[in-house]
Protein backbone atom coordinates (compact mmCIF):
# COMPACT_ATOMS: atom_id res chain seq x y z
CA UNK A 1 0.00 0.00 0.00
CA UNK A 2 1.45 3.37 -0.97
CA UNK A 3 0.82 6.06 1.59
CA UNK A 4 -1.40 8.95 0.58
CA UNK A 5 1.42 11.48 0.97
CA UNK A 6 4.97 12.12 -0.18
CA UNK A 7 8.12 12.06 1.93
CA UNK A 8 8.37 15.82 1.45
CA UNK A 9 4.86 16.19 2.82
CA UNK A 10 5.51 14.20 5.97
CA UNK A 11 8.72 16.18 6.46
CA UNK A 12 6.88 19.49 6.22
CA UNK A 13 3.96 18.34 8.34
CA UNK A 14 6.28 16.90 11.01
CA UNK A 15 8.27 20.12 11.10
CA UNK A 16 5.11 22.20 11.33
CA UNK A 17 3.96 20.19 14.33
CA UNK A 18 7.09 21.22 16.22
CA UNK A 19 6.18 24.90 16.21
CA UNK A 20 4.04 25.62 19.25
CA UNK A 21 1.24 28.14 19.15
CA UNK A 22 2.30 31.60 20.24
CA UNK A 23 5.98 30.98 19.57
CA UNK A 24 7.99 33.87 18.16
CA UNK A 25 9.63 32.24 15.20
CA UNK A 26 12.47 33.59 13.05
CA UNK A 27 11.85 31.93 9.71
CA UNK A 28 14.29 30.98 6.98
CA UNK A 29 13.05 30.99 3.40
CA UNK A 30 12.09 27.74 1.66
CA UNK A 31 11.27 24.63 3.69
CA UNK A 32 11.26 26.43 7.08
CA UNK A 33 8.89 29.05 5.73
CA UNK A 34 6.56 26.37 4.35
CA UNK A 35 6.52 24.48 7.64
CA UNK A 36 6.07 27.59 9.77
CA UNK A 37 3.19 28.86 7.67
CA UNK A 38 1.58 25.44 7.69
CA UNK A 39 1.79 25.45 11.49
CA UNK A 40 0.16 28.86 11.51
CA UNK A 41 -2.72 27.53 9.40
CA UNK A 42 -3.15 24.49 11.65
CA UNK A 43 -2.51 24.43 15.40
CA UNK A 44 -0.45 27.62 15.77
CA UNK A 45 -2.55 30.55 14.56
CA UNK A 46 -0.82 32.83 17.06
CA UNK A 47 2.73 31.92 16.10
CA UNK A 48 4.56 35.12 15.18
CA UNK A 49 6.64 34.77 12.04
CA UNK A 50 9.62 37.08 11.68
CA UNK A 51 11.50 37.27 8.38
CA UNK A 52 14.97 38.78 8.28
CA UNK A 53 13.94 41.30 5.63
CA UNK A 54 11.85 43.13 8.22
CA UNK A 55 8.28 41.80 8.55
CA UNK A 56 7.20 40.88 12.08
CA UNK A 57 4.03 38.83 12.40
CA UNK A 58 3.76 38.00 8.71
CA UNK A 59 0.65 36.00 7.77
CA UNK A 60 1.08 35.31 4.06
CA UNK A 61 -1.76 33.42 2.39
CA UNK A 62 0.65 32.12 -0.24
CA UNK A 63 4.24 31.12 0.40
CA UNK A 64 6.86 33.78 -0.29
CA UNK A 65 9.36 32.88 -3.02
CA UNK A 66 11.95 35.20 -1.57
CA UNK A 67 12.78 36.35 1.94
CA UNK A 68 11.39 39.79 1.17
CA UNK A 69 8.20 39.20 -0.82
CA UNK A 70 5.59 41.93 -0.76
CA UNK A 71 2.93 39.72 0.81
CA UNK A 72 5.11 39.37 3.91
CA UNK A 73 5.11 43.14 4.36
CA UNK A 74 1.40 43.49 3.58
CA UNK A 75 0.29 40.89 6.11
CA UNK A 76 2.75 41.71 8.89
CA UNK A 77 1.92 43.44 12.16
CA UNK A 78 4.81 45.76 11.46
CA UNK A 79 7.75 46.03 9.06
CA UNK A 80 11.02 47.31 10.45
CA UNK A 81 14.42 47.77 8.86
CA UNK A 82 16.74 44.80 8.43
CA UNK A 83 19.27 46.19 10.93
CA UNK A 84 16.48 46.52 13.48
CA UNK A 85 15.41 42.92 12.89
CA UNK A 86 18.88 41.68 13.68
CA UNK A 87 19.69 44.13 16.47
CA UNK A 88 16.52 44.59 18.51
CA UNK A 89 14.57 41.45 17.71
CA UNK A 90 17.02 38.60 17.12
CA UNK A 91 20.06 39.73 19.13
CA UNK A 92 17.67 41.44 21.52
CA UNK A 93 16.56 38.00 22.65
CA UNK A 94 12.96 38.23 21.48
CA UNK A 95 12.97 35.06 19.34
CA UNK A 96 11.78 31.73 20.75
CA UNK A 97 12.47 29.52 17.76
CA UNK A 98 14.88 29.85 14.86
CA UNK A 99 13.61 27.75 11.97
CA UNK A 100 16.49 26.93 9.62
CA UNK A 101 17.31 24.92 6.54
CA UNK A 102 20.78 23.56 5.81
CA UNK A 103 22.94 22.64 2.85
CA UNK A 104 24.99 20.31 5.02
CA UNK A 105 24.98 19.31 8.64
CA UNK A 106 27.01 17.00 10.82
CA UNK A 107 26.17 14.70 13.70
CA UNK A 108 26.22 17.61 16.15
CA UNK A 109 23.80 19.63 14.04
CA UNK A 110 26.43 22.12 13.00
CA UNK A 111 25.45 23.64 9.65
CA UNK A 112 27.48 24.48 6.58
CA UNK A 113 26.01 26.79 3.95
CA UNK A 114 29.33 28.41 3.02
CA UNK A 115 31.78 26.27 1.03
CA UNK A 116 32.63 22.73 0.05
CA UNK A 117 36.39 22.37 -0.03
CA UNK A 118 38.90 24.92 1.19
CA UNK A 119 37.39 28.25 2.20
CA UNK A 120 39.89 30.27 0.21
CA UNK A 121 39.85 27.95 -2.82
CA UNK A 122 36.41 26.37 -2.68
CA UNK A 123 35.29 23.44 -4.78
CA UNK A 124 31.73 24.63 -4.46
CA UNK A 125 30.84 28.09 -3.32
CA UNK A 126 27.52 27.97 -1.43
CA UNK A 127 25.44 31.11 -0.72
CA UNK A 128 27.06 31.81 2.62
CA UNK A 129 25.88 32.81 6.05
CA UNK A 130 22.77 34.94 5.65
CA UNK A 131 21.11 35.24 9.01
CA UNK A 132 21.89 31.70 10.18
CA UNK A 133 25.01 32.13 12.39
CA UNK A 134 23.14 34.51 14.66
CA UNK A 135 19.74 32.81 14.40
CA UNK A 136 21.39 29.60 15.56
CA UNK A 137 22.92 31.28 18.58
CA UNK A 138 20.42 34.00 19.57
CA UNK A 139 17.11 32.13 19.21
CA UNK A 140 16.10 30.35 22.39
CA UNK A 141 15.94 27.12 20.40
CA UNK A 142 16.42 25.99 16.82
CA UNK A 143 14.50 23.69 14.48
CA UNK A 144 16.21 22.43 11.34
CA UNK A 145 14.39 21.07 8.32
CA UNK A 146 16.48 19.42 5.62
CA UNK A 147 16.21 16.60 3.06
CA UNK A 148 18.35 13.74 4.18
CA UNK A 149 21.09 12.40 1.90
CA UNK A 150 24.82 11.66 1.95
CA UNK A 151 25.26 15.12 0.42
CA UNK A 152 23.46 16.87 3.25
CA UNK A 153 24.26 14.60 6.24
CA UNK A 154 28.04 14.59 6.20
CA UNK A 155 30.65 13.09 8.49
CA UNK A 156 32.88 16.14 8.53
CA UNK A 157 31.92 19.67 7.59
CA UNK A 158 34.43 21.68 5.61
CA UNK A 159 33.13 24.80 7.31
CA UNK A 160 30.83 25.52 10.25
CA UNK A 161 28.60 28.38 9.19
CA UNK A 162 26.20 28.11 12.11
CA UNK A 163 26.87 26.44 15.41
CA UNK A 164 24.93 23.40 16.50
CA UNK A 165 26.57 21.57 19.41
CA UNK A 166 30.07 22.03 17.96
CA UNK A 167 32.09 19.02 19.16
CA UNK A 168 29.23 17.73 21.31
CA UNK A 169 28.75 17.48 25.05
CA UNK A 170 28.79 20.93 26.60
CA UNK A 171 30.96 22.45 23.86
CA UNK A 172 28.18 24.83 22.87
CA UNK A 173 27.77 26.14 26.40
CA UNK A 174 31.53 26.40 26.82
CA UNK A 175 31.66 28.55 23.69
CA UNK A 176 29.44 31.01 25.56
CA UNK A 177 26.49 30.64 23.23
CA UNK A 178 23.22 31.88 24.74
CA UNK A 179 20.49 29.92 22.92
CA UNK A 180 19.85 26.24 23.67
CA UNK A 181 20.55 25.23 20.08
CA UNK A 182 18.87 22.65 17.82
CA UNK A 183 16.10 20.72 19.52
CA UNK A 184 15.10 18.71 16.44
CA UNK A 185 16.16 18.03 12.87
CA UNK A 186 13.26 17.07 10.66
CA UNK A 187 14.02 15.25 7.40
CA UNK A 188 12.07 13.43 4.73
CA UNK A 189 12.94 10.14 6.46
CA UNK A 190 12.86 10.78 10.18
CA UNK A 191 13.15 13.15 13.10
CA UNK A 192 16.42 13.44 14.97
CA UNK A 193 16.99 14.94 18.39
CA UNK A 194 20.23 15.62 20.22
CA UNK A 195 21.18 13.03 22.81
CA UNK A 196 20.87 14.72 26.22
CA UNK A 197 24.51 13.92 27.09
CA UNK A 198 26.58 13.66 23.95
CA UNK A 199 24.33 16.02 21.96
CA UNK A 200 24.79 13.73 18.96
CA UNK A 201 21.77 13.70 16.67
CA UNK A 202 19.79 10.55 17.31
CA UNK A 203 16.85 9.26 15.33
CA UNK A 204 13.81 9.38 17.59
CA UNK A 205 10.98 8.85 15.14
CA UNK A 206 11.03 7.22 11.72
CA UNK A 207 8.52 8.21 9.09
CA UNK A 208 6.13 5.41 8.03
CA UNK A 209 7.64 3.57 5.08
CA UNK A 210 11.20 4.69 5.79
CA UNK A 211 13.61 2.05 7.06
CA UNK A 212 16.63 2.18 9.33
CA UNK A 213 18.66 0.94 6.39
CA UNK A 214 17.42 3.77 4.20
CA UNK A 215 18.29 6.30 6.91
CA UNK A 216 21.79 4.79 7.28
CA UNK A 217 22.31 4.89 3.52
CA UNK A 218 21.41 8.55 3.47
CA UNK A 219 23.68 9.56 6.34
CA UNK A 220 27.39 10.24 6.06
CA UNK A 221 28.17 8.99 9.54
CA UNK A 222 27.34 5.96 11.60
CA UNK A 223 23.95 7.20 12.70
CA UNK A 224 22.46 6.31 16.07
CA UNK A 225 18.88 5.37 16.77
CA UNK A 226 17.20 6.09 20.05
CA UNK A 227 16.28 2.94 22.00
CA UNK A 228 12.82 4.48 22.26
CA UNK A 229 12.61 5.12 18.55
CA UNK A 230 9.04 5.07 17.31
CA UNK A 231 7.18 5.65 14.09
CA UNK A 232 6.27 9.21 13.14
CA UNK A 233 2.54 9.82 13.23
CA UNK A 234 1.48 10.03 9.58
CA UNK A 235 0.07 13.30 8.31
CA UNK A 236 -3.59 13.67 9.20
CA UNK A 237 -6.03 14.42 6.43
CA UNK A 238 -6.46 17.95 7.74
CA UNK A 239 -2.72 18.54 7.74
CA UNK A 240 -2.28 17.30 4.19
CA UNK A 241 -5.25 19.27 3.02
CA UNK A 242 -3.90 22.49 4.51
CA UNK A 243 -0.43 21.91 3.07
CA UNK A 244 -1.72 21.08 -0.38
CA UNK A 245 -4.10 24.02 -0.39
CA UNK A 246 -1.23 26.30 0.64
CA UNK A 247 0.96 24.96 -2.15
CA UNK A 248 -1.87 25.18 -4.67
CA UNK A 249 -2.49 28.81 -3.72
CA UNK A 250 1.22 29.46 -4.03
CA UNK A 251 1.41 27.79 -7.42
CA UNK A 252 -1.58 29.77 -8.64
CA UNK A 253 -0.08 33.01 -7.42
CA UNK A 254 3.51 32.45 -8.51
CA UNK A 255 3.19 29.89 -11.27
CA UNK A 256 5.41 27.38 -9.48
CA UNK A 257 4.68 24.24 -7.55
CA UNK A 258 7.76 23.77 -5.41
CA UNK A 259 9.82 26.28 -3.52
CA UNK A 260 13.46 25.32 -3.35
CA UNK A 261 15.42 26.41 -0.31
Amino acid sequence: MTPGYTSDEIMTVSAARMLRNGAICFVGIGLPSTAANLARLLHAPDAVLIYESGPIGAKPSVLPLSIGDGNLAETADTVVSTPEIFRYWLQGGRVDVGFLGAAQLDRYANINTTVIGDYHRPKVRLPGAGGAPEISTAAKEVLIIVKQSRRSFVKQLDFITSAGFLTGGDARERAGIQGRGPVAVITDLCILRPDPESRELTVTTIHPGASREQIRLNTGWDIRFSPDCIETAPPAAQELEALRALQARTAAAHGVVEISS
Binding site: I29, G30, E52, S53, G54, P55, L65, S66, I67, G68, D69, G70, L72, A73, V79, V80, S81, T82, P83, I85, F86, R87, L90, Q91, N110, T114, Y119, H120, P122, K123, V124, R125, P127, G128, A129, G130, G131, A132, P133, E134, T137, A138, F159, I160, T161, S162, A163, L166, R172, A175, G176, I177, Q178, H254, G255, V256, I259, S260
Partner: protein
Protein backbone atom coordinates in the same frame (compact mmCIF):
# COMPACT_ATOMS: atom_id res chain seq x y z
CA UNK B 1 21.79 68.62 -2.36
CA UNK B 2 19.88 66.35 -4.72
CA UNK B 3 19.92 67.14 -8.42
CA UNK B 4 17.42 65.55 -10.74
CA UNK B 5 19.43 63.92 -13.50
CA UNK B 6 19.24 61.17 -16.08
CA UNK B 7 20.58 57.86 -14.82
CA UNK B 8 23.46 57.97 -17.28
CA UNK B 9 24.43 61.44 -16.06
CA UNK B 10 24.19 60.34 -12.43
CA UNK B 11 26.33 57.24 -12.90
CA UNK B 12 28.87 59.21 -14.93
CA UNK B 13 29.10 61.92 -12.29
CA UNK B 14 29.12 59.87 -9.10
CA UNK B 15 30.45 56.36 -9.71
CA UNK B 16 34.09 55.94 -10.63
CA UNK B 17 36.40 53.03 -11.37
CA UNK B 18 37.74 51.58 -8.14
CA UNK B 19 34.98 53.02 -5.97
CA UNK B 20 33.44 51.18 -3.05
CA UNK B 21 29.82 50.99 -4.16
CA UNK B 22 26.75 49.67 -2.35
CA UNK B 23 23.64 48.98 -4.42
CA UNK B 24 21.15 48.03 -1.73
CA UNK B 25 17.58 46.77 -1.57
CA UNK B 26 16.60 43.61 0.31
CA UNK B 27 14.67 41.59 -2.32
CA UNK B 28 12.49 44.70 -2.66
CA UNK B 29 13.52 47.86 -4.58
CA UNK B 30 16.78 46.48 -5.97
CA UNK B 31 18.26 49.17 -8.23
CA UNK B 32 18.64 47.04 -11.36
CA UNK B 33 18.45 49.93 -13.83
CA UNK B 34 21.36 51.61 -12.06
CA UNK B 35 23.33 48.36 -12.08
CA UNK B 36 22.86 48.04 -15.83
CA UNK B 37 23.97 51.62 -16.37
CA UNK B 38 27.16 50.94 -14.40
CA UNK B 39 27.81 47.99 -16.73
CA UNK B 40 27.01 50.10 -19.82
CA UNK B 41 29.49 52.76 -18.75
CA UNK B 42 32.15 50.08 -18.35
CA UNK B 43 33.06 50.72 -14.72
CA UNK B 44 35.76 48.37 -13.50
CA UNK B 45 37.72 47.46 -10.41
CA UNK B 46 34.73 48.29 -8.24
CA UNK B 47 34.54 47.10 -4.67
CA UNK B 48 30.95 46.05 -4.33
CA UNK B 49 29.10 45.67 -1.07
CA UNK B 50 25.61 44.32 -0.67
CA UNK B 51 23.89 41.98 1.75
CA UNK B 52 22.36 39.75 -0.91
CA UNK B 53 24.27 40.03 -4.20
CA UNK B 54 21.19 38.74 -6.02
CA UNK B 55 20.98 38.92 -9.81
CA UNK B 56 22.12 42.54 -9.85
CA UNK B 57 25.62 41.69 -8.64
CA UNK B 58 25.68 38.45 -10.61
CA UNK B 59 25.31 40.69 -13.65
CA UNK B 60 27.92 43.23 -12.53
CA UNK B 61 30.35 40.45 -11.61
CA UNK B 62 29.75 38.58 -14.87
CA UNK B 63 30.30 41.82 -16.77
CA UNK B 64 33.69 42.20 -15.13
CA UNK B 65 32.93 45.38 -13.20
CA UNK B 66 33.92 44.06 -9.77
CA UNK B 67 37.27 43.29 -8.19
CA UNK B 68 36.01 42.80 -4.67
CA UNK B 69 32.71 41.80 -3.08
CA UNK B 70 31.51 42.17 0.49
CA UNK B 71 28.30 40.22 1.01
CA UNK B 72 26.34 38.08 3.42
CA UNK B 73 24.19 35.73 1.29
CA UNK B 74 25.04 35.00 -2.30
CA UNK B 75 22.22 33.01 -3.83
CA UNK B 76 19.40 33.38 -6.31
CA UNK B 77 16.49 33.68 -3.87
CA UNK B 78 14.01 30.86 -4.28
CA UNK B 79 15.99 29.40 -7.20
CA UNK B 80 19.53 28.35 -6.32
CA UNK B 81 23.05 29.52 -7.12
CA UNK B 82 24.35 32.76 -8.54
CA UNK B 83 26.38 31.22 -11.36
CA UNK B 84 28.36 34.31 -12.38
CA UNK B 85 29.32 34.90 -8.75
CA UNK B 86 30.39 31.28 -8.40
CA UNK B 87 32.29 31.32 -11.66
CA UNK B 88 34.23 34.36 -10.46
CA UNK B 89 34.96 32.88 -7.04
CA UNK B 90 35.62 29.32 -8.16
CA UNK B 91 37.31 29.99 -11.54
CA UNK B 92 38.31 33.70 -11.63
CA UNK B 93 36.05 34.41 -14.62
CA UNK B 94 35.94 37.00 -16.12
CA UNK B 95 38.27 38.50 -13.51
CA UNK B 96 39.25 37.30 -10.05
CA UNK B 97 36.86 38.36 -7.32
CA UNK B 98 38.17 38.87 -3.81
CA UNK B 99 35.44 38.29 -1.28
CA UNK B 100 34.81 39.55 2.22
CA UNK B 101 32.07 37.46 3.64
CA UNK B 102 29.94 38.46 6.60
CA UNK B 103 26.69 37.36 8.17
CA UNK B 104 23.52 39.37 7.64
CA UNK B 105 23.64 40.55 11.22
CA UNK B 106 27.26 41.62 10.86
CA UNK B 107 26.77 43.48 7.59
CA UNK B 108 23.56 45.15 8.76
CA UNK B 109 25.38 46.28 11.90
CA UNK B 110 28.34 47.44 9.80
CA UNK B 111 26.08 49.72 7.79
CA UNK B 112 24.56 51.04 11.02
CA UNK B 113 28.04 51.75 12.36
CA UNK B 114 28.93 53.46 9.10
CA UNK B 115 25.81 55.63 9.20
CA UNK B 116 26.69 56.50 12.80
CA UNK B 117 30.24 57.51 11.84
CA UNK B 118 31.80 54.78 13.96
CA UNK B 119 34.79 52.75 12.76
CA UNK B 120 33.42 49.45 14.00
CA UNK B 121 30.31 47.62 15.10
CA UNK B 122 29.87 45.61 18.29
CA UNK B 123 27.59 42.61 18.12
CA UNK B 124 26.94 39.08 19.28
CA UNK B 125 27.97 37.15 16.21
CA UNK B 126 29.72 34.13 14.75
CA UNK B 127 29.90 32.23 18.05
CA UNK B 128 31.14 28.74 17.26
CA UNK B 129 31.34 29.33 13.52
CA UNK B 130 34.39 28.92 11.26
CA UNK B 131 34.09 32.51 10.09
CA UNK B 132 36.16 33.69 13.04
CA UNK B 133 39.09 31.69 11.67
CA UNK B 134 38.42 32.43 8.02
CA UNK B 135 37.89 36.18 8.21
CA UNK B 136 40.49 38.64 9.44
CA UNK B 137 37.75 41.24 9.82
CA UNK B 138 36.14 39.48 12.77
CA UNK B 139 37.83 40.50 15.99
CA UNK B 140 36.75 40.50 19.57
CA UNK B 141 36.29 43.24 22.06
CA UNK B 142 35.62 43.20 25.79
CA UNK B 143 32.94 45.19 27.55
CA UNK B 144 34.77 47.72 29.73
CA UNK B 145 32.10 47.28 32.43
CA UNK B 146 31.31 43.56 32.53
CA UNK B 147 34.38 42.10 30.80
CA UNK B 148 32.13 40.17 28.46
CA UNK B 149 33.62 39.27 25.08
CA UNK B 150 31.76 40.40 21.97
CA UNK B 151 32.45 40.44 18.26
CA UNK B 152 33.76 43.61 16.62
CA UNK B 153 33.67 44.09 12.87
CA UNK B 154 34.63 47.06 10.69
CA UNK B 155 31.95 49.47 9.62
CA UNK B 156 31.05 49.89 5.95
CA UNK B 157 31.55 53.37 4.48
CA UNK B 158 30.82 53.22 0.73
CA UNK B 159 31.99 55.92 -1.63
CA UNK B 160 28.57 55.74 -3.23
CA UNK B 161 25.29 54.16 -2.23
CA UNK B 162 22.70 53.46 -4.92
CA UNK B 163 19.10 52.68 -4.07
CA UNK B 164 15.71 52.60 -5.76
CA UNK B 165 12.68 54.16 -4.06
CA UNK B 166 9.03 54.70 -4.78
CA UNK B 167 8.85 58.50 -4.92
CA UNK B 168 10.78 61.73 -4.81
CA UNK B 169 9.47 65.27 -4.82
CA UNK B 170 10.75 68.16 -6.90
CA UNK B 171 13.38 69.05 -4.29
CA UNK B 172 14.65 65.47 -4.31
CA UNK B 173 13.31 64.30 -0.97
CA UNK B 174 12.90 60.52 -1.25
CA UNK B 175 10.18 58.28 0.19
CA UNK B 176 10.27 54.51 0.39
CA UNK B 177 8.02 52.03 2.15
CA UNK B 178 7.40 48.33 2.57
CA UNK B 179 10.48 46.22 3.12
CA UNK B 180 13.14 48.82 3.86
CA UNK B 181 16.20 46.61 4.15
CA UNK B 182 19.36 48.56 4.92
CA UNK B 183 18.82 51.32 2.37
CA UNK B 184 18.65 54.22 4.78
CA UNK B 185 21.79 53.04 6.54
CA UNK B 186 23.60 52.47 3.22
CA UNK B 187 22.82 56.01 2.08
CA UNK B 188 23.81 57.57 5.40
CA UNK B 189 27.01 55.47 5.62
CA UNK B 190 28.08 56.59 2.15
CA UNK B 191 29.80 59.77 0.98
CA UNK B 192 27.51 60.05 -2.03
CA UNK B 193 24.09 58.69 -2.90
CA UNK B 194 22.27 58.08 -6.16
CA UNK B 195 18.57 57.28 -6.02
CA UNK B 196 16.33 56.05 -8.81
CA UNK B 197 12.58 56.39 -8.27
CA UNK B 198 9.30 55.19 -9.72
CA UNK B 199 7.63 58.55 -9.57
CA UNK B 200 8.36 62.25 -9.37
CA UNK B 201 5.64 63.98 -7.35
CA UNK B 202 4.81 67.49 -6.26
CA UNK B 203 4.48 66.43 -2.63
CA UNK B 204 5.46 63.18 -0.93
CA UNK B 205 2.30 63.12 1.20
CA UNK B 206 4.12 60.75 3.51
CA UNK B 207 2.50 59.24 6.58
CA UNK B 208 3.98 60.14 9.99
CA UNK B 209 7.41 58.63 10.66
CA UNK B 210 7.74 57.27 7.13
CA UNK B 211 11.18 56.38 5.83
CA UNK B 212 12.30 59.56 4.10
CA UNK B 213 15.74 60.55 2.89
CA UNK B 214 15.98 64.34 2.77
CA UNK B 215 17.21 65.82 -0.50
CA UNK B 216 20.40 67.04 1.15
CA UNK B 217 21.73 63.53 1.82
CA UNK B 218 21.23 62.56 -1.82
CA UNK B 219 23.42 63.65 -4.74
CA UNK B 220 21.31 62.60 -7.71
CA UNK B 221 17.71 61.52 -8.17
CA UNK B 222 16.72 59.82 -11.41
CA UNK B 223 13.24 59.08 -12.64
CA UNK B 224 13.37 55.44 -13.76
CA UNK B 225 9.92 53.84 -13.61
CA UNK B 226 10.29 50.09 -13.42
CA UNK B 227 13.94 50.53 -12.43
CA UNK B 228 13.76 47.86 -9.73
CA UNK B 229 12.52 45.09 -12.04
CA UNK B 230 12.88 42.11 -11.95
CA UNK B 231 12.71 42.80 -8.21
CA UNK B 232 9.62 44.71 -7.17
CA UNK B 233 8.42 48.10 -6.05
CA UNK B 234 5.70 47.87 -3.42
CA UNK B 235 2.58 49.60 -4.70
CA UNK B 236 3.87 49.66 -8.30
CA UNK B 237 4.68 46.19 -9.62
CA UNK B 238 5.35 42.66 -8.46
CA UNK B 239 8.53 40.67 -8.41
CA UNK B 240 9.20 38.99 -11.76
CA UNK B 241 9.74 35.54 -10.30
CA UNK B 242 9.85 34.04 -13.79
CA UNK B 243 12.89 36.14 -14.63
CA UNK B 244 14.64 34.99 -11.45
CA UNK B 245 14.08 31.40 -12.58
CA UNK B 246 15.05 32.21 -16.16
CA UNK B 247 18.26 33.78 -14.87
CA UNK B 248 19.39 30.37 -13.66
CA UNK B 249 19.58 29.14 -17.26
CA UNK B 250 20.93 32.40 -18.70
CA UNK B 251 23.69 32.71 -16.15
CA UNK B 252 24.68 29.04 -15.93
CA UNK B 253 26.57 29.27 -19.22
CA UNK B 254 29.22 31.90 -19.98
CA UNK B 255 28.27 32.25 -23.63
CA UNK B 256 24.60 32.51 -22.99
CA UNK B 257 25.25 35.08 -20.28
CA UNK B 258 27.46 37.11 -22.62
CA UNK B 259 24.77 37.06 -25.29
CA UNK B 260 22.19 38.22 -22.78
CA UNK B 261 24.49 40.94 -21.51
CA UNK B 262 25.22 42.22 -25.01
CA UNK B 263 21.65 42.16 -26.20
CA UNK B 264 19.99 43.41 -23.01
CA UNK B 265 22.51 45.81 -21.53
CA UNK B 266 25.50 46.66 -23.69
CA UNK B 267 23.54 47.12 -26.91
CA UNK B 268 20.72 49.06 -25.28
CA UNK B 269 21.08 52.78 -24.75
CA UNK B 270 19.16 52.91 -21.51
CA UNK B 271 16.68 51.18 -19.24
CA UNK B 272 13.72 51.89 -21.53
CA UNK B 273 15.44 49.99 -24.33
CA UNK B 274 16.36 47.22 -21.90
CA UNK B 275 12.69 46.90 -20.99
CA UNK B 276 11.76 46.69 -24.68
CA UNK B 277 14.25 43.87 -25.24
CA UNK B 278 12.87 42.02 -22.23
CA UNK B 279 9.31 42.41 -23.46
CA UNK B 280 10.24 41.13 -26.90
CA UNK B 281 11.85 38.10 -25.34
CA UNK B 282 8.72 37.39 -23.32
CA UNK B 283 6.58 37.66 -26.44
CA UNK B 284 8.83 35.18 -28.27
CA UNK B 285 8.74 32.78 -25.33
CA UNK B 286 4.96 32.95 -25.27
CA UNK B 287 4.80 32.09 -29.02
CA UNK B 288 6.99 29.01 -28.65
Amino acid sequence: MAQWASLSEAVAAHIHDGDLVALEGFTHLIPFAAGHEIIRQGRCNLSLVRMTPDLIYDQLIGAGCAARLTFSWGGNPGVGSLHRFRDAVERDWPVPLAIEERSHSDLANAYVAGAANLPFAVLRAYAGSSYEQASPHIRSIHCPFTGERLAATPSVRPDVAVIHAQKADRQGNVLLWGILGVQKEAVLAARHAVVTVEERVESLDAPPNACILPAWVVDAVCLVPGGAAPSYAHGYYDRDNAFYRRWDAISRDRERFCAWLKQSVLDTANFTEYQRVQEEWCRKEALR
